[in-house]
Amino acid sequence: MTDTSSSSSSRSAPLFIGAAVACIFGFGYTLSLIFYQTPLAAGPLYFNQKIFYYHVPCAFMLFLAVIVCGIASIKYLRGREQRWDDVSVAAAEISVVFGTIVMVTGVLWAKPAWGKWWVWDARLTSALLLWMTMIAYQLVRKYGGAGAERLASGLGVFAMVNIPLVYSSTRLWKTNHPSANTVPSLDPSMRAALWFSVLLFTVFFILLLRLRINARRDERRLYECREMALDAGIFE
C-alpha cells in the first residue's frame, strides 16, 4: 500500500500559495504595465490592442500545454508508465483552460476590431479545432471506458501535430488575424510588457501542472485504497 503520510495535499500547499501569489502579483503588476505604462497602439486598433498582452501569452500556454500533453502521451504509449499518463492528463486539462481563455479574449477582440464576433479564417478555425481536440480528450478520458487512456493519448499526439499548422496559418493562408511578425515591430515598452506577461503565465502554468499532477497521483492512490478495502471486505 502506498504511504500517504506525506500526502500530496501537504506537499502541494506551498505550490498553491505560490500560484496564488503569482496570480495576485501578476494581476496587479501587469494591469499597471498594460493600462498605464504601455502606449496606445497607433491605427485602427487603438485601445483594443491591449487585449494582446494576455491573449498572446495564453495562446503560448495553450501550445505549451498541448506539446507537454503530446510528448507525455507518446511516452505513455511507448512504455505504459502511469507517471506519463498523469502528466498527459494534467497538461490536457490545463490546455482546455488556456484554450477557453484564448477563445473568449479572441472573440472579445474581434468584435471591436472587425465588427464581428467570429470569422471562419484559417487561424481561428485551426485554433478552434485544437481547443475542441483537447475537449474531446477530456470526454474520452471521462466516458471512454476501458482503454480510454490509449485513445486519449492518440488524441493528445494528434493535437500536438496540429500546433505548427495553427502557428503558421497566418503565413500559409490569407487571414484576418494579425501575423506573428507583429511582435518584433512593437514599441520596446509594449514588447517588454508582452514578454513579462509570457514569463508570468509560464510560471503559473508550471505551478498548475505540478498541482494537477499531484492531484492525479492522489486519485490513483485513492483507487488503490478502494481496491485494498474491497479485498479486505470493508466494502461489499
Binding site: S9, F47, I101, I234
Partner: protein, 120 residues
C-alpha cells in the same frame, strides 16, 4: 538718467509684447512659405470650396468625440476580456483545490478503515 531711460525701456517692452499678437492677427494658420505644393493646394481650394470645407471639418471636435467614444467602447471589451481571464483561472484553481481536499479526506478515511480492519 533713470527717468529718461524708463519711457524708452517701457516702449521697447510694449512693442515686443505686441509684436506676436499683431503677426498672429494678420496670418491664419502656419506662417507663409514658398512651396509648389502649397500653391497647388491653395489653387485647388479656390477651384472647389468643398475641399476647403472638408479640410476644415477634419479639424472639428466631432472626430475627437467619435475617437473618445470608440476608446471608451473598446475599453469595455478589454476590461471584459481581462475579467474573463482571471475568472476562468480563479475557477480552475478553486475547483482543483476543492478536488484535492476531497481526495485527501477520502484517502485518510479509507486508510483509517483499512487499519481498523487489519487490527480486527
Amino acid at each position: 538718467m533713470t527717468l529718461r531711460v524708463f519711457p524708452i525701456f517701457a516702449l521697447v517692452l510694449l512693442a515686443l509684447s505686441a509684436a506676436p499678437t499683431t503677426v498672429s492677427a494678420q496670418v491664419k494658420g502656419p506662417a507663409p512659405y514658398a512651396s509648389e505644393m502649397r500653391d497647388q493646394c491653395i489653387a485647388e481650394m479656390e477651384k472647389d470650396a468643398r475641399i476647403l470645407a472638408a479640410c476644415e471639418e477634419s479639424h472639428s471636435s466631432k472626430y475627437q468625440v467619435q475617437d473618445a467614444a470608440r476608446a471608451v467602447k473598446d475599453k469595455q471589451f478589454v476590461v471584459a476580456a481581462y475579467a474573463a481571464i482571471w475568472a476562468v483561472l480563479a475557477i480552475f484553481v478553486v475547483i482543483m483545490w476543492l478536488r484535492q481536499r476531497k481526495l485527501s479526506v477520502e484517502i485518510t478515511r479509507l486508510q483509517g478503515e483499512l487499519k481498523k480492519a487489519a487490527a480486527e
